[in-house]
Symmetry: C2
């Protein structure tokens, strides 16, 4: 991968990287489209990163669709799919971790200990291996975006972090590979996340700025859905993830599936 | 710095980096010479990295000789001196750290909590900012070398770590910016480190392989010197720093000055 990327660099080509864990959906492909528009070469990495999963999490059953991923990326005209093995990424002797404090501590960081350390480490490795000029992430994983912006800046990495809007189903559900876990009733219940964000957006539009009341609105919508259980609902600063702020963030269990979603209440809400 | 380095890359020039904390001596200049021989461009960074110093350590009084450093580097024909400010390297919002486990845990890592985290973080930043193809370090800081080799490999950084032999005074004392702290009697006492390594090397040459006995030899020489106090004497693997191994490592306080030295007993010992 690095030899190929360095060859492109010598040719003066710019390189866009789309890091994924595979199980590609239209959200990922919108990142690929953006990378295609803004770079001479596009690399999509496909790596289900074991160190960002906790002991009780869904590493073993995380959705995988290698043939479909490959044909989607071929059709999209990407220049390379980078698909390292776990043994190549983490040989037994490997002992280095990248840790982002503060922005990674709360919410997803608190709910999933070690998660952002795993994300920060793998992303640093992927940036280095692909010599990326720009890297593309979805707004759906808002805290991940904030963590990666922080580490790219803090480590002086010469990669521009580009963030693309969350892609949603017609009813508002944010696309996620984990949506594949949902039964039919759960799938219908899962719309409560985007509905809650929409309600908070409406209240914000009417002038509501009290974070407690905005949080209560989010909470009420989730609690009205019998199949859903709220993990957290918070209003945070979109860059630092400190409270309060204009970014409404939600984590909700629908059945056994943990879903996240978010919206910056200052921005138009789709639907 | 990065714009300059990227321009060199586009021209097809290779880049050698010599990271230093200034107070340059002949040991540093031997690294610069090696970098000059092996690269089209040479960058020397001069940065007294605050985060690698512990609370009770010598950050404030660490030797500084900016004019002399600059004229030495000018005379050596380096292409750039990279001298960032502390505020540029660590703005208040910065919260990312690179942590190397295992190899960084014992000896210097145990004696100086946070030291290698500071080293690993700044070195990762310097590698990124200078687009280095090769980076040059002195064998004198053997555990630092092992930590940096580990992180460069673990993070897939495209930088080759080059290690140059320790440069010594005529009486054997390893060059170090901290030697400037020594009074005249302490300077004479400080030769006990290289003398101890020499004795262990002689014993190894006579066939001694028992780590306890080799350690005892190191210890005896240091304890025979009234102005010296042993911090540690150990035999470790030069790559992993696990025990036992062929690398004899020493940390000794001479007066208030903490000095380190090492020698791989399998290799010829100078003097």
């Amino acid at each position: 991968m690095r030899d190929m990327a360095r060859g492109w660099r010598v040719d003066g080509s710019s390189i866009g990287l789309v890091p994924t864990m595979g199980a590609l959906h239209a959200g990922h492909m919108s990142l690929v489209d953006a990378a295609r528009r803004e770079n001479d070469r596009v690399v999509v990495s496909v790596f289900v990163n074991p160190i960002q999963f906790g002991p009780g999490e869904d590493l073993a059953r995380y959705p995988r669709s290698p043939e479909r991923d490959l044909s989607l990326l071929r059709a999209a005209g990407v220049d390379a799919m980078y698909k390292p093995s776990v043994a190549d990424m983490y040989p037994p002797s490997a002992s280095t971790r990248v840790i982002v404090h503060d922005v990674a501590d709360a919410l997803e960081g608190a709910a999933r200990p070690g998660h952002f350390e795993g994300v920060a480490t793998v992303v640093t490795k992927l940036f280095a291996a692909t010599c990326a000029d720009r890297a593309y992430f979805g707004q759906k994983d808002a805290q991940q975006v904030a963590v990666i912006r922080r580490l790219a800046s803090d480590l002086d990495l010469a990669v521009e972090i580009r963030v693309c809007p969350t892609v949603r189903e017609d009813d508002g559900l944010a696309l996620s590979s984990r949506n594949a876990y949902l039964s039919q009733p759960e799938r219908q219940a899962a719309v409560c996340l985007s509905r809650a964000l929409g309600r908070a957006f409406e209240a914000y539009g009417r002038g509501e700025r009290n974070p407690d009341r905005l949080r209560a609105i989010l909470r009420e919508v989730i609690e009205a859905e019998p199949l859903a259980e709220l993990d957290y609902a918070e209003l945070v600063d979109p860059l630092t993830f400190s409270t309060p702020g204009s970014l409404a963030v939600l984590a909700v269990r629908v059945g056994k599936t943990r879903l996240i979603d978010n919206h910056d209440l200052r921005l138009p809400y789709p639907g």
